[in-house]
């Protein structure tokens, strides 16, 4: 999929980030899917989540996953809008809406992870 564009803001950076975040997401998403399904309980019970959340590195993986996934997905949607040569005011409205949506859901997701208690005092593990 080649894209040739010639304005100052060519979108080349977001094109590169789309590919890099995509590659990171291959590992994160497929890993997540296996982890959540190797046993029927592992993806669907509170205890399984609580158990994982005792390891801070696991929380960090989730936060990175959420951030990259949101960025990649919303940037992808923005890419679709870019196909349509929108009027400037529409462009700004769409971009702002996507941005707010992303920030809101990332904040919500972070809040979820941080709200899960540590059962014992464990530092980085």
């Amino acid at each position: 999929m080649y894209k040739y564009q010639s304005s100052k803001n060519s979108g080349a950076k977001s094109w590169v980030f789309q590919r890099i975040s995509g590659l990171a997401l291959v590992v994160l998403m497929i890993g997540h899917y296996i982890l959540m399904h190797y046993h029927p309980d592992s993806g669907h019970t509170y205890d399984a989540v609580l158990g994982r959340m005792q390891f801070s590195w696991y929380r960090i993986i989730d936060l990175v996953f959420l951030t990259l996934g949101m960025y990649h997905g919303l940037n992808g949607i923005w890419g679709i809008f870019r196909d349509y040569n929108l009027k400037p005011w529409l462009k700004i409205s769409v971009l702002t809406s996507l941005f707010i949506l992303g920030i809101a859901f990332v904040a919500w997701g972070y809040n979820i992870i941080f709200s899960i208690p540590y059962l014992r005092n464990i530092t980085l593990n």
Binding site: R19, I30, H37, H44, G73, D83, N111
Partner: protein, 141 residues
Amino acid sequence: MPEDTGKIRKFDQKEWIKENISYHKDSGSWAWIYHRISGLALIGYLFLHVYSLSTLTAGREAFETKMKAFTTPFFMALEWVLFIFVLFHSLNGIRIVLVDWADGARYHKMLYKVSWIAGIILFLVMGYIMFSHEILKLFGK
């Protein structure tokens, strides 16, 4: 994203829904359409996912009440179906990156076929991972 197949044809991205319904397609435009649909499905799922995980903040009871709905056979099957989107978007995404950065334009058609074969195998393997416990239960362990 018209593909170089010898005949010259313009693929109109703005009319992608119409293009999807129209009759002339080669593997390249199919891949592109599926990539878009699977990407939209995944980001849609991610929103729903965060929403349904939000009961985690309310503790065990709230979360498990919500999750009960998602452990019915119907939703288990849906989770398997979702994996089709995950697989297509992942494998085709890798193919796109190879085409862009690793001279994949020379072998992208072969890659596309290999991706389908790998995808079908991985889909079945995931089916086994997801349902082996249930199947074994059916036969009394």
